[in-house]
Symmetry: D3
Subunit: 206 residues, 6 copies
């Protein structure tokens, strides 16, 4: 029950990133009593209409039990590693006082993903737990997860959330089989039925 | 067609290790015209009768197209990191002149697996390509594969081989789903339908 | 309250290793309602009488709230990486069904410490959380902790436990200042007053 | 004959980078029947006239058997990590459908080199083989090659190509001895007469 | 007496960074006869008046025996990874011909710190010794020092220097206890009373 | 002049290992006024008569200016990772009080080499500087040197020492060209004519 009464802030580069990387964990956190907040740094304008993408992600997060969904407007594919962006994240931390951050890994081939990973490292220096989730674009030669959340029983709910992203349905990693394979593989690594895997940026057990 | 006309020597700690880690690759190599030789360092006496296990592995390798199957008799669960064991492997190298070694990773939680990984590193110093396959026991916090073999189309054949190991059928990682999940996950990391993943000990493109 | 209702098995090479590496964490776990079991693989005969050392460690662990203290009798300074030793640890796991293991790191300059780290990796493959603590002999060029337990408020109790080891009081790292410096430094890395640091061998949040 | 019938796209930051890092490999690939395309991201204006440098590199690549030589015009010493630059590389991938990329490593002390390494990681996510070559400026404390191409017999041709860069002939690493030393050292690491060494970004054996 | 007759150039992002990371080492170097030059890339305007911060750092460095204190004017919290910044550092190297650089690590959570680390890697490629000091913001999961300077006997002088930074006295890591804990911990790792720890970027013993 | 008035203890697995890894450094140390002691853990009986090998190494070390040459008698190719072996090394440390250890790397494919690396890590915990030299058998995928000794001007003397090993003259890495290539390559990495490269196990600048 690590998530009970905790505030979890999930930060993704684009609509669908948070769901893909940590949808099962978020749903589990909500079930355990966490307050989860979702923040997307862009509105995903490179691959579809931004209003549509925001609607899809809002619906997706609602399915996972997340009410507080925020969208910043940094440029899709060109999120800057700027003070403005760091400060933006710091304001969320100051306002919501998260106990746990779920965000991108710096070991990712997508430029926006790794930039968000670096921004989070700067911005959330006072948050006790910062975890970096696995996107379909993490570097296979560098991403080494050591923290796993058992999401057995929550995989279907994760799929329900992912399937909101109708505008992105040509992405092969947004297929049901991809999601199940990943969850099953990560589960098999640690002896459970299904898991999401995270790199630890920082983890303090208070 | 990297395997055409090559000699591949696969070295596993126990009957079933080679198939699990590289069954698809071996079948592919045979299809492409490689001569594949399988060597098991123990006879797997800890979990079943050794004769039975040898029969199962021989049958399994035959299904993959491997005729030359050898069994040494080092003690199961206590393979030594001895000169005798290194020398044993060197003799295989001198006799068969392999171009490619497929064997265990030193980043494995099973003591026999990592010992074989170290023995191979000592013994096969003159072989141009030494690749370490993924067992169900590799260390999730350390195993970082960078070499992937596309085994799309060969997964069913791998399953046919694995299913020879009737004596081991309580191992959960010897289930069809486990095999498919792993192959699909490793494939998804590199954009193909199914793959086996390897750490590179040494790789020379001649 | 990660430790509430959990079974924690702490495994050290010698009397005093567990206390040094995780005394604060153990006391905290006990306070939160965990059942903690301590196992020493040797009786520390190289530096003092074994009966004396066992008495000291038993007293030390009692102070931390640990009632179940076990001593195996592997040779001090020559703990083997044998099946017998792995099996010994597996028996403890089968009997006590631990949720969390606290043990040595493989990244340690002391041969016994790193052997116990490897033994634990083999033996506790089915335990969801395996954490490697920091001994005074970890390799400064390799030990990279990512998991920290806030032990603010428990440092004096840790000292009380450490000070039972009268027979070892010439070891400079068994001084009060050493203990406080380490706890304060590890705390400062993660923004708390005092902490113990661990490498993650495996961590599943169930 | 890994290169037979393959399309190889080599991407360097400045005229002379491709030749230095992979001149022997490129010549070998051409001999084996590959189509090799060379792309320079800048025209090298910081150290000589850009027309001169383009002529030198074109001549150099022609000697290696490369007909298709392209020059973008990103600013020398300030190649941006921008979407424009990523997109530029993606267009080459879409047009030429490379099987193999040869480019810079992210573990390089030259800012342009490592930027090209990161750009390539983003842009070539769908190319099966991405290899990072060794420049004279790679970080000795981080560059760890695991893939070696035997260039025995091709070293003189590499020198012929390098010696086209008359405008750069004060660079000590453009000396014959430097080239031979590097090739011989990398060869000695893997038991051949001469080699070029690469980090693997991604390698799929199809 | 490694510092005797050497030129040491210390480069920090903000006033107080150099003192924090290497104040003891600098004082020791001065005592041994080194010429030490301090360069701050910003004037620290984000946290106090820049004139005040420059006065504080100048006074602080004077206490350590450093007469040559320079301030560039790159924007605090937004130091760019630009050619201009690299060139700025190269000019210092050309003018002062340093034997040893002391600067930030690329493994730091503060964006300015890691940028300075990367700039230094580009700019000081011809300096034989480049060492990266430990800031209070280095990444606990990545900073691995292997070079330690014994500063036993110099800790009080370091404190004298740090205490000049009156405008920053709310930073918890600028407390006496923090400084002593860090120095004592790093000392204990290598068996001395107090030490400062560095990552090696490059180290040539001439 | 880091070596002036220092005691250097060089520990190799077999006759010729010390010379190969650090012959230039040792000669330089002697020139600067160090007392150098050489210890071979085996007598190299696997590849020639032990008396002959001891004579060759003694002569070789004498050429480098080393008078104190010791030979233990651990079994060639089977050096144990035992307390006896650790204790043996500790006795040398207690007797000779070395300031600097030069020995094998744990990242070596030869079993004896890496065992000596681990033994040294245990035994020399109180020596301030422990450096691991580069053998012809270090793991190319793991050996990452960060400490370099400029041996420009000493390469011919190193060759004079190496050429004493007449009984080993079929080893290709004992050729003049191999030695020069390695020295030149390592030199080129750090901007000097010739260098020997070392991993740092521990380095304290007192």
């Amino acid at each position: 029950m690590v998530f009970a009464n905790k505030v979890v802030l999930a930060v993704g580069a684009h609509p669908d990133d948070i769901e893909l990387g940590s949808g099962g964990t978020i749903y589990k956190a909500v079930q355990e009593g966490a307050l989860v907040i979702a923040l997307y740094m862009t509105r995903g304008g490179k691959t579809a209409d931004t209003d549509l993408r925001m609607r899809e992600s809002t619906e997706s997060m609602n399915i996972l039990g997340v009410k507080d969904v925020f969208f910043e407007n940094f440029p899709d594919t060109e999120i800057p590693e700027s003070f403005e962006a760091i400060n933006c994240l710091e304001q969320y931390a100051l306002k919501h006082k998260p106990d746990i951050i779920l965000t991108h890994s710096i070991n990712d081939t997508h430029q926006d993903h790794r930039k968000v990973g670096w921004l989070a490292m700067s911005a959330f220096r006072n948050v006790p737990k910062v975890l970096a989730f696995e996107s379909p674009r993490v570097r296979s030669a560098a991403f080494l997860p050591t923290y796993f959340v058992n999401i057995t029983g929550y995989v279907d709910k994760k799929w329900e959330a992912l399937s909101c992203h109708v505008s992105q349905n040509e992405k092969r990693y947004l297929a049901y089989e991809s999601m199940v394979n990943l969850a099953s593989f990560r589960g098999s690594q640690v002896g459970v039925g299904a898991a999401e895997a995270f790199e630890i940026v920082k983890y303090v057990e208070s």
